[in-house]
Symmetry: C2
Subunit: 200 residues, 2 copies
């Protein structure tokens, strides 16, 4: 398969890229490095990326940000960071990505446990993740050419645990192998419109 | 109690307003009529409304819109209608509304079954509803003065069923009495951070 991984050099992305590279042609896109540079907040940047990638069998997005802060410290503009980046960025990847996917191709988005089990300072991040969960279920009803869309929603991943554990009291770190398997399930399985939850 | 109902003259709102008016002081806000005019897309309009309402014991929002259309017919601007109105409109009601609520007051937002069980043409509407579900869980971790926030998520309501039933194949209409009870549960109960699902 020919697989594009947006955010393929990130904490999760590099493990996912390493796995799929074993048996597939993997192209990596990122904001600062990769085979293609892309800023998913900007739909024209996404469009230019897909002009260069050519036809694909799978698109995986492990990118997009949202601002973490106490609710009363978040401005309206702060909320729009998450809406424009992690939420509409991933929606726009589906809007444009469907056109470069071969029939039976797949798109895998990334959310996280905050959608279902938030912690303090995540009103924006949780909201964005929850929006994508519902979006994935809805868009799966409409895409054509047997193109599938899923989201991988993992708990705090092992490789980020030391840095973020104080924000996630009592959360168990998710082994990277299990996180990678969420993407494998989406890309190599037949599920469509699924939120693949990897919680512990 | 002194209760503000935004959208209190709408299909659901008028039944909710009628119920709470039996035993409470109910103030109604709406885009075109009511005790206060408000456009929840515009945070300055929300701010002006709360300058006029004075202190409240409960805020109920049954307002906000999102565009319905086939996924491939929705523009990026179309998605932003829902993000600015039903999503950030309700977020901003919590941001500003907490300041006019008495201790132990409550805020009740409105979503809908599409968050969990979407139908065709609802990628934007489902996404917005799902975002609010996660937001409500997250913000409940942070509000002070024992202020509670919940969302009522109903299936297709009986009073809108004839108009919309073709969009909801096989969905069972929800009796208005049950819908009203969702708001009663939020306002008069003790639940916080709950998504009150009224599905059948």
């Amino acid at each position: 398969m020919r697989i594009l991984i947006i955010g393929g050099h990130g904490t999760i992305g590099k493990k996912v890229s390493a796995h799929f590279s074993e048996d597939n042609e993997v192209l990596i896109a990122g904001r600062t490095n990769g085979d293609f540079l892309v800023d998913i907040e900007d739909i024209s940047s996404i469009s230019k990326m897909f002009e260069k990638t050519g036809q694909l069998d799978a698109i995986i997005c492990i990118a997009g940000e949202a601002k973490w802060a106490n609710f009363n410290d978040l401005s309206e503009d702060d909320f729009h960071i998450g809406l424009n980046s992690k939420l509409m960025g991933q929606v726009n990847l589906v809007r444009l990505g469907q056109n470069v996917l071969n029939p039976k191709g797949s798109i895998t988005l990334t959310t996280g446990i905050l959608a279902d089990d938030p912690v303090v300072m995540t009103t924006s991040a949780a909201m964005v993740n929850g929006g994508i969960h519902s979006f994935v279920q809805a868009v799966a009803l409409e895409l054509e050419n047997e193109i599938r869309v899923n989201a991988v929603s993992s708990g705090m991943v092992e490789d980020a645990y030391e840095k973020y554990k104080d924000y996630f009291p009592g959360h168990n770190p998710i082994p990277m192998k299990k996180v990678v398997n969420g993407y494998v399930r989406s890309v190599n399985g037949k599920g469509n419109g699924e939120v693949i939850r990897i919680y512990d």
